[in-house]
């Protein structure tokens, strides 16, 4: 299997002397046509990884190859071959969905004849075709998310990064996104890199997963392998075992009034 994304000691540090390690020495390989899931609690380094792999920020140490292009030297080429749905993405609220997708397509040099057709198809797929001329400021969060997914697909790149792809979506839209991701991987041969902490989605979609915690990759393998490594029954239990959780006895401890003289 050919490697689509590979990282070598990829690191991103912040603060004086780099004391805050957002990502610390990530070594990872994602194969062509694979759907890979990066799991981790909030602030674990998932978004930093995606931003580094899309050349949005520069690594402090290490490097990565994306579709054969070095993120340090070939930023433009990397950007051409990737599509990205950011975790908290911005849209131009004063553009309509159609205008926003035209704009996104133009940034990636999508030919005009292809673009017009593709925009219509994507808007129909996400059930937004009838609202294509409405300004995005009037869209709900879920509808904006659909437009942003369409924008990530607009240049039909071989590698797709989805940071929390179903965030804010209703069950039916979430199902469309899940089915779409499956189709993109199975039928279109896309390499898909998903960041999420919604475990059922990752479990359902991903061929392999990595668990990242405090900037370090601490587990890697298929869902079954990870469960087996931790000796638990479910991915959720395995995830908690790896990243740490709260003891059941602590859940209602806040109700106790320790200083009361009862």
């Amino acid at each position: 299997m050919q490697v689509a994304v590979s990282t070598e000691k990829l690191s991103k540090y912040y603060g004086k002397g780099g004391e805050i390690k957002a990502l610390d020495g990530l070594d990872l390989e994602v194969y062509e046509g694979e759907t890979f899931g990066l799991l981790g609690p909030n602030g674990a380094g998932k978004t930093t990884t995606v931003r580094l792999l899309n050349c949005i920020i520069k690594p402090t140490n290490g490097t990565a190859m994306v579709n054969g292009h070095d993120i340090l030297k070939e930023g433009t080429e990397v950007k051409r071959v990737t599509g990205m749905l950011a975790e908290s993405p911005g849209v131009y609220e004063k553009l309509s969905a159609k205008e926003f997708l035209e704009f996104s397509g133009a940034l990636y040099d999508v030919p005009r004849d292809v673009l017009a057709e593709r925009i219509d198809d994507l808007l129909k797929l996400f059930g937004l075709y009838d609202r294509r001329d409405y300004l995005l400021e009037g869209y709900s969060r879920g509808m904006k998310q659909k437009v942003l997914i369409a924008a990530a697909l607009i240049h039909d790149p071989p590698i797709l990064f989805f940071d929390e792809p179903t965030s804010g979506l209703d069950p039916s839209a979430a199902l469309i996104v899940k089915d779409l991701i499956k189709k993109l991987a199975d039928s279109a041969g896309k390499t898909i890199f998903i960041c999420s902490h919604i475990l059922p989605i990752v479990e359902e979609l991903c061929d392999r997963i990595g668990i990242i915690h405090q900037g370090k990759l601490i587990a890697l393998g298929t869902v079954n392998e990870i469960i087996a490594q931790t000796g638990r029954k479910t991915l959720e239990e395995a995830f908690i075992a790896i990243t740490g959780g709260v003891d059941e006895r602590e859940l209602l401890a806040w109700r106790e009034h320790r200083s009361a003289s009862t």
Binding site: C55, I56, K94, S104, A106, L107, P111, L135
Partner: protein, 550 residues
Amino acid sequence: MRENFWPGGNIGVPAPKWLIVAKYQYRITTSSIRGIRPYFPYLVIGFLAVYVTFVAPAIVALFVNDFLAFIITQAAIPMVQIILFMFFFYLILFPISDTLREMQTNQLEIFLKAPIKPGDVLLGEFLGRMPFYAIVIVVITGTFTALMKPLGFDWAQNAIVIITFVITLLSAIWIGTVIAALLRTRLGKNVRGKDVGRALSIVVALPLIAVMYAILGGGLLQALVDPATGGMVRTILGLLPSSWGAEIFVGFVTNPSNISAVGFETLTRFVGLIAFSAAALWLGTRAANRAYSLELTTFIAPKARKDGLFYKTVRLLGGGGSSGNLLVSVFKDYGRRLENLSWIAYAVVVIALLRIFLSDPYSKPEDPLINLSEIGIPFLTAFVVGTVSRGKETIFLFKKTPSGIGKFVKARLLQGLVVTIPIAAVLIVVSTVSVPQMTLTSALSTTILGLLRTVASVVLVLGLALTIPIFSEGSRERALGPVINLMIVLFATIILSSELPRRGLSFGNMLPNLDRLTSVLYDHLLLTAIFFLVGGALLYIGTRKLSKIE
């Protein structure tokens, strides 16, 4: 690895990226007039043609004789220098202030993940907004062109002046756009930075206001003409490109239709201006890499310190217990936003500038009270309690608690008083000590009555803010609240101060034996009582309105 991933399409020759960005920037800017977008350029061109051909000459005709007499005097060069400097500075500030007010960095990700150079984004954003800047430039240049007509310039002089104006103003907007983009990147990535940005957007215009007031009433021009006082400022102004344009203009005024008489001076300044603009353009595109980045410049999350003496006092003022805690929470949310502190600074500086440059020196004991009540106190209170809250979410927090809205209004009222009373006290004391004939009794009564008016004004402004609430996360929309309330209070104060005595409702008229100071103090007290009554009624109405808000 696939080279071309466009199924069924050919890339061909793609449009330049800066053009794509410019096109969509224009669409974004004109989204509110989408219905007339196709005709908009023609409408604007038509209006501008009418302005340049008819309106500007008609305006100029009103003061052309004074202008012609003035332009040959010693004051002409500094005056034109100052005017061009103000336009130059204003056009630099315009994009900066606009960006700082609403810093959105989320959209940066759209560009950063796409194969586009930062320089193209910057140029595209600049060009996309250009049609609107062009309107400002045409209005300014059109007015100057109308001024040039009676001066007898030949076509070459006219052309050079127009080109000079356009280059100077365009350079200013470009510099402003670059600085705005850099600031957005520097400040827009965290909440604290955004707050700093909003705070800066408020005070950034103060130097311009100071210069304007100094021209209007501070004798700035006279000081500049005087070699003893104006030498250094003129030298500094002379270094700015806006002054080079002014010197070209004034050079032509003294030599109409005789460009060769000032040929060398004109050439050097004109070439200097072009070189400056080219350098600004080059440096701006070089700076673009820094202007479009999502690299965090700081990773320090703002941390609350343990409550000190100040918050303990505020808690006590709020009555201790849960209502004291509530006041402290409202106060913290207010005081930890630099934007709010910036509004206070803005109000105080404007009050000081008005006092320094535009009002007569205080000669009578009642002067400080009249002046502060008419302008200072309304300014201060409007900018402190002129808005209800940033968004409706804060109101909903209170709505779902028992008697929550009442508690919220009480806390906002107390918070407004805690902020405004000390500042008003300082303003009143500083003003009263500057009056030569002020006795201790007069000073004390002035201070007490001034503080009473401050309290009444807080009640009135908050009442207005609750009755006409403006909820917005946007700085621009939110600033509307204080401005509207300020206008209402200013208007009410001025009308009532002049109208009540005219209708005989003045203690001076009713009790002729009273001395001037006492009658002014009584009138002031009457107006304060009216403010209290109206403000109280508005607070009641506003509280009920807020309780019903959905």
